[in-house]
Symmetry: C2
Subunit: 387 residues, 2 copies
């Protein structure tokens, strides 16, 4: 009921009964408890929205934003991006904290996160201990229900029970997930996926990530390591991937893959930083350099093939290509999406829509906060029920 | 409640209340209706199962098998395989009817199915009109909820509202689905998937099919054309597929693909029938013919790559390789499964189990019957409620 108010409120009690299929008497009893517990508040109904019921004093119910503060953050190569939201999901602060190095020990990363949370809380004149829960997104393979990080480029150890490490170290309940799953969550709650129950989100940064939403839920696989789109194979015995296997999609489309190919024939002169090198390749391709063009074309072809395979398997309503960097424009190009459409099973019905949604690290962090908000809501209700 | 009794019965009322979370009073009221409607029956409790409750007369509830007859059938290239089950899911008759040709008009196929159902009903001294529902499995792309066949190798037209055509032509409510989905359903209800909520079934006959079960439900995609594993691409600009595209898995592993490759170099002398030709290739490979060996090896490699991609995306508990024909032993070989395990993302947790489940067309037909049984149960309950 709390989630219904959270997503669709403010709402009158009668709408809540209709939406949840719960009897009006039960709705009255439960919302009474939620009101007494301070999780929701009554607000006067907008009179224009309720002309038909003149004369009867009516109120809507809304989440009490002040009830809890929730943090969400995304750990990237070079920094941690953090947001603070209220119980209503409204962003009240954000912060970016540089990291000393991309790969840290669990304790060291916890300390960096703690410092980030402190800086975040100060912005709204609160302290870290006022935060009720924190959602953390990491690249890598994460078993979210168990808070276990099998592997992440941000951690120097494998199989870290990172949710426990964070909960202990921060003194706040922490919830860990793969960062692409949190983008999927964010798209579902406040992005392009709002009106869809079945969609796929592809993210490209230094690696390729995927989040799957089926039936309005983030799909996580049974061992917590599904949706590894970047490591699906697009070529038998193909290019060597960072994961140690051959032929992974990532080994053709990630920035390091582009740089590797372009430098292997010496056709493009590159500078030290990978990000800069990728820009050099893209610029060279745009100005007609044939080697650079071939490098970019193959990446696009492989990406289109991988996307078409996903559509052939999932038949989603929508594919969202989400990411921050303009540097992946070549993969999001119309030609690539057309190539993808050609590779899917042809029926007399339109192919799923493909939308490109550019956004920044704060949106990833918001997904993490939304993930934590679910748990905080559940706990708040359980606490009420236990008296 | 009916489904609970169907899957776990015979059950006492109190177990039913516990399993469904419905109050005992409601269970008593509803089961009373089901009893009066003849859908369930009371049976004396096995006294050994209930020693603790001596002295109190107790009964279990079970589905009344005689309440309804349901048919299921699978349309193949050369024949229709049919089963008849009672309301309890127990098989009471089966029948195989040869088809005059693999591809028929919707009306002609309906007439063949009608004749098959007549022959089936006669076996239990009933007529076709005594059958309450029929489930039909077809190869091809099927929008099951709408009973629409976008395309099937068994039909000479595209976009056929085949469930409607059948319901009209047979005088029995008909439910159509992709045949691989029905195998998934059958595996879920009475096969290797019984104890699993998330698994993938791969079927190989003349084409490659896939059924996906997620959270105990067959996943069908949003346009009804997901799970097209056979048409996922394993090679950019690869071998030409029957579907008109290049690089599909089917174009490397289907029987016609093996024959095409083997004959292209003239290394293997083949006879007219494809099935026979495939056996010739397999025999030649086993006896060390290098060309045949290379043909078989590549098929296995491509199949392993496709399977690994599925596991990387879905992270299922279990992969079931299901099929009738020994002729695909080479794809189900240990070496192929090992190759697949190597291609999945490596974490410190065991890879999903892979089981090979050999079965025949009657099992596919049973899946179709189970599909129809769900609808017949729903309708029977609705009919009771409407008085």
């Amino acid at each position: 009921m709390l989630r219904e108010i959270s997503q669709h409120g403010p709402l009158p009690r009668i709408d809540l009964a209709e939406r949840t299929g719960i009897s009006r008497a039960t709705v009255t009893a439960v919302t009474g408890e939620l009101l007494r517990g301070g999780l929701i508040a009554e607000v006067p109904r907008d009179p224009q929205a309720d002309e038909a019921a003149r004369g009867r004093p009516r109120v809507d119910l809304k989440i009490d934003g002040a009830a809890h503060l929730i943090a969400g953050l995304k750990v990237s190569d070079a920094s941690i991006s953090l947001v603070l939201i209220d119980f209503n999901g409204v962003r009240v602060a954000d912060h970016e904290r540089p990291l000393p190095q991309p790969r840290l020990s669990p304790d060291r990363l916890t300390a960096e996160i703690a410092a980030g949370l402190d800086a975040l809380a100060v912005q709204v004149d609160r302290t870290r201990s006022d935060i009720s829960g924190v959602g953390v997104g990491l690249a890598g393979i994460v078993d979210a229900p168990h808070g276990l990080v099998y592997w992440s480029p941000s951690l120097d150890q494998r199989n870290v029970p990172f949710a426990d490490v964070l909960t202990q170290g921060l003194g706040i309940p922490a919830y860990v997930d793969n960062d692409a799953n949190l983008v999927a969550k964010a798209e579902m709650i406040f992005g392009e996926g709002k009106d869809h129950s079945d969609f796929i989100v592809i993210t490209i940064e230094s690696g390729v990530g995927m989040g799957i939403v089926l039936g309005g839920q983030v799909y996580r696989g049974t061992r917590g390591c599904g949706a590894e789109f970047g490591h699906t194979k697009v070529q038998v015995d193909g290019a060597l991937c960072r994961c140690g296997q051959r032929g992974c999609l990532e080994a053709y489309v990630a920035d390091y893959a582009l740089v590797r190919e372009a430098t292997s024939v010496g056709g493009v002169t590159l500078t030290a930083s990978t990000a800069h090198a990728v820009n050099t390749i893209l610029t060279a391709a745009k100005s007609g350099d044939p080697t650079a063009r071939m490098v970019i074309d193959r990446a696009g072809k492989m990406f289109a093939m991988g996307l078409a395979n996903l559509v052939n398997i999932f038949d989603p309503e929508l594919v969202i290509l989400a990411g921050e960097q303009m540097q992946f424009d070549h993969l999001y190009a119309d030609a690539v999406i057309e190539e993808m459409q050609k590779g899917i099973v042809q029926i007399d019905k339109p192919a799923p829509a493909v939308v490109v949604h550019k956004w920044d690290n704060l949106m990833w962090a918001s997904g993490a906060a939304a993930h934590a908000l679910d748990f905080v809501q559940d706990h708040a209700v359980t606490a009420l029920q236990d008296g």
